[in-house]
């Protein structure tokens, strides 16, 4: 599975909607699909999936506003390792 597929699967689990898959530019916080709680769950899930250390102190809310941005964030973090 590629990176975006894994991110979207986790995001779908946390938000309990497949809207996040259909529209990658969905404004997650504005549309009340993701909140602080979901954000934290997603960080833990993505940390485990990718073997990264994603913590609340590292992520600014502006970096997580849409599915596309979250995917980009993870890709960026993975690039730093390799």
């Amino acid at each position: 599975m590629n990176i975006s597929e894994i991110v979207l699967t986790e995001l779908e689990k946390v938000t309990e909607t497949d809207e996040v898959r259909r529209n990658l530019d969905l404004m997650l916080f504005d549309e009340k699909i993701l909140d602080s709680f979901g954000s934290m769950e997603l960080m833990v899930a993505l940390s485990e999936q990718f073997g990264l250390e994603i913590t609340p102190g590292q992520v600014e809310r502006e970096q997580w506003t849409s599915p596309r941005k979250i995917i980009a964030y993870v890709q960026e973090r993975l690039k730093e390792i390799h």
């Binding site: 602080s36 833990v44 102190g57 590292q58």
Partner: protein, 381 residues
């Protein structure tokens, strides 16, 4: 002298604001002026005579020095193996003066702004722990902690955000926008605090004194509006003053009485405080509990997080029963809001955007909030 409370203070502060504006216009504004202005204004605000800590000026500077050393030490230790224990030790040192001030009788160890400075020094420690802060220049740190415009009651800025303003060079157009924004906010402050809040206090709040239910309800409304105009007015002054120096602290209020539910309310009321609790208490608690799989039910962490962060917020105001109940009351309201939202997520009536439903939810939220302020006021118990 109490900041933003009387006209003498505003008169004195012109000696800080006008040179800042002038130097900015001449493109000669440097950070040194910010340091000078803060030192001078803090002397005016805190000086009480005496050479020891009974003089609040020295107490305040002593506190700042302690926090500076604490943060520097932690920055050094973080690179070593003892990161965890060093972090907890640093947190303890940052909290100790506030705790000592709360538990020891009298106000020997307390100075105006102590609790707000504590939030800022904790923000620096969290930033170091997360790796976002890797250097602590003394001038920048001291101004972040003590900047005279925001020292007494916020808004609670963040070190990394403050750093962006600190390093920024302003163009003429930006300077003009700052002066414009500053003056607008200062006049908003006069309108809110010295006209609206003052009128509400004199003719409404102070006029309801009886213990009957009707009087208590009137007091609830009066107090709610008084609190808003007084504090939003204060915040407008603080942000407006800061603009003169090229600093843009976060706004504290965004039409709070238009909130449609309690979560919405905390995104609009005393924003810099509620975001602080969201980022440093709620989020970290939820993250740790999800990661450590502490609870069987997924949402237990969220619910407990509300009680924890709002409970702490209440205690932060003071140890009196009405503050603690106020915090728990808001914890319970956030829990209920969240639970109902989840339970009725697909209910078409409850999620309708009709004018009636919007009005009803704003009306209900306003009254829940007002009742909270009635608890907070200490009039009930």
């Amino acid at each position: 002298m109490t900041p933003y409370a009387d006209f003498l203070y505003f008169g004195v502060s012109l000696y800080a604001l006008l040179p800042a504006a002038l130097l900015g216009w001449l493109k000669r504004f440097t950070r040194i002026w910010l340091v000078f202005a803060t030192l001078g204004m803090l002397a005016v605000q805190y000086w009480q005579g005496g050479s020891g800590l009974e003089n609040k000026f020295w107490l305040m500077l002593g506190y700042a020095t302690l926090q500076w050393l604490n943060a520097r030490l932690f920055l050094k230790l973080r690179a070593q193996k003892v990161r965890r224990p060093a972090f907890y030790f640093a947190l303890l040192v940052a909290l100790l003066p506030l705790l000592a001030g709360k538990f020891f009788p009298g106000d020997t160890l307390v100075f105006v702004g102590l609790s707000y400075i504590t939030f800022r020094s904790l923000d620096v420690l969290f930033g170091i722990q997360d790796g976002g802060i890797q250097a602590l220049p003394l001038a920048q740190y001291s101004q972040f902690l003590l900047f005279f415009a925001t020292i007494s009651s916020g808004p609670i800025d963040r070190f990394q955000r403050f750093g962006q303003d600190w390093r920024r060079e302003r163009t003429s157009a930006e300077w003009l926008r700052d002066i414009d924004g500053g003056i607008q906010r200062i006049f908003t402050g006069f309108l809110y605090k010295f006209i609206l809040a003052a009128l509400i206090k004199q003719y409404w709040l102070d006029a309801v004194s009886g213990a009957e239910l009707g009087q208590t309800i009137a007091y609830m409304y009066a107090y709610t509006f008084y609190l808003f105009f007084d504090f939003a007015g204060y915040s407008a002054f603080a942000v407006g003053f800061a603009y003169f120096f090229g600093i843009h602290p976060p706004e504290n209020f965004r039409r709070p009485f238009a909130a449609r539910d309690l979560r919405d309310f905390w995104n609009r009321w005393h924003i810099s405080l509620s975001f602080w609790f969201r980022d440093f208490v709620y989020n970290r608690f939820v993250f740790a509990s999800v990661k450590g799989k502490w609870f069987k039910n997924r949402f237990t962490a969220a619910y407990l997080g509300y009680f924890l962060s709002m409970g702490l917020m209440g205690v932060w105001h003071g140890l009196a029963a009405h503050y603690i109940v106020y915090g728990l009351y808001h914890g319970a309201l956030l829990f209920l809001t969240d639970w109902l939202n989840r339970r009725y997520r697909n209910n078409r009536l409850l999620n309708s955007d009709s004018l009636f439903w919007r009005g009803a939810s704003i009306f209900l939220t306003f009254h829940l909030v007002s009742f909270g302020f009635l608890i907070f006021s200490g009039r009930l118990f």
